[in-house]
């Protein structure tokens, strides 16, 4: 099983959009995916339905010993399940927040996910490295960093790498799988300069080729509580970028999707 955190120092860079749509794409490509909302604000749950935002989830699993099987939502995509952040008890919030910095808090989550046969666990985290975001980073194997293609976001990248270094120095075993440029605006020179600068500064193969554009469809999908691919009957082009990203990440993870397997390759035309 592969565990993956979507994490960044800055908020509002598209972590939840990336997590949700990437999870859908990977599930569509044949992997059994568990999407975990490790943001105490409950971003994933809130971005879907009101019911999801009120459902027990990660908090109940980690603090009350509830089973993943009974907490995870099934979705329209058969191989995708979602574990929301849960209903955090305000009276125990600070204690849980502190406990959640430890790797051991999330051991039951990953053990049960492996037991349930999930191939990939994607964790959407809150910005920064503290509380459950820290615990998740200490538990996962890989981290994907969304890097917003806007000037302000770029300035926090150096600091964030320093922080991740500290965490790594303390014994965390994760590695950075890649940096994804998000919210790239093709109309803005500043946005493109930032994307170019990130590519120039970061080592060659660390920045993923796929870039997530700034698109009104994401806002629309967010308002409707849907992954982009479910907005219209026909999958919109904006959703394709996540398929492309999923394919790129599969390569990095050494996975081979069933979609990549060779088919029968019989002729297209079967007769008049």
């Amino acid at each position: 099983m592969i565990s993956l955190a979507i994490s960044s120092q800055k908020g509002g860079v598209g972590k939840t959009t990336l997590s949700l749509n990437l999870a859908c794409s990977l599930a569509r490509r044949g992997w059994k995916v568990l999407l975990v909302d490790a943001d105490p604000q409950g971003s994933i749950g809130m971005s879907l339905t009101e019911e999801a935002s009120r459902h027990p989830g990660l908090y109940e699993l980690t603090s009350q010993g509830r089973a993943l099987k009974e907490l995870a939502f099934e979705t329209r995509i058969e191989s995708l399940q979602i574990l929301t952040s849960g209903q955090i008890d305000p009276a125990h919030y600070f204690q849980w927040y502190q406990d959640a910095e430890r790797q051991s808090t999330f051991d039951p989550l990953f053990e049960q996910a492996a037991g349930e046969g999930f191939s990939i666990v994607i964790c959407d985290t809150a910005c920064g490295v503290h509380g459950p975001s820290m615990g998740i980073l200490r538990s996962v194997q890989s981290v994907v960093i969304p890097q917003q293609a806007e000037p302000l976001a770029g300035r926090s990248l150096g600091f964030y790498l320093e922080v991740l270094n500290q965490l790594s120095a303390q014994g965390s075993a994760f590695s950075i799988l890649g940096v994804v440029i998000t919210m790239l605006s093709f109309d803005s020179e500043d946005s493109q300069i930032m994307a170019t600068e990130v590519r120039e500064v970061m080592p060659f193969n660390l920045v993923l080729n796929t870039m997530i554009p700034r698109d009104v469809l994401f806002l629309k999908a967010s308002r409707k509580g849907l992954p982009v691919e479910f907005l219209y009957k026909q999958k919109p082009a904006a959703a394709e970028v996540f398929d492309q990203l999923a394919k790129e990440l599969e390569l990095r993870l050494g996975l081979k999707s069933s979609q990549e397997e060779e088919g029968e390759q019989t002729p297209l035309l079967v007769g008049p």
Partner: protein, 270 residues
Amino acid sequence: MSKPLYSLDRETAHRLLTRHGLARNLDPSGSPVAAIPEEGAGLMPPPPPRPLGEKSEGEERSLWQEKNLELSKELEKSRQQVAEREEKVQVLEKANGHLEQQLDGLGKNLQEAGKEIQSLKEELAGRRVEIETLKRAAEQSQKEKGQGGKLEAELELWKERCQLEKKERETIAGKLIELDQELTATKVQLEEAKRTAAQAGDAELMARLRQQLQTGRDLVARAGQDHDKLLAERAGLKKKIEELELELFKSKEALKQAVMAVHQARSGAG
């Protein structure tokens, strides 16, 4: 225009990503060509799931990190101790530097005093010659008996010279007393520095200080020897001056007699 990523540059990014293995899929040489992924090759094979109950790599690194942290703390403590000792050494070195300067000054003074004494000796030798000349002149005048006025004038000149000589002798004696006092003060300061070092209680520091004190002692001993030598020279000179005074007295007596003889001769003639 400021850099879009502020202080983050290629080198920093590479260092951050490789220091603790944050980016394991990077080519160690940093060469982008070597790092191009091959289709299907997989840049980072996922690590196998950790068996329950077994220490993870992370936990082992955490233990190692704790040990590392303890060592860092000890190192920091040692650094502080070293810094404190360095500070003490600097204070003592400063004090010793001051003493050495004083000793240097003392040495120079002694040297100058030696020169002055030498020049005085030369002057005294010159005067001795003059006395001899005067003696000869007195004898001559006694013989010539008509030249008493000239001898009187020479006698006055001699008196003035004797007074000058006395003053100079007093000056030398005063300088020697000053040197004595300086030597005593230096010895007191050295003792004080020794006590300070003993209070610092640092063996290494004491060893260094002992060496410096020994140097100081040697200088003092040398100064003492010079002092003794000067005293001996002074005694010698005093003796010579006494001898000269005796000779002078004799010469004066001879002159008096000569003058008397001249007067008698004049009155006899009158």
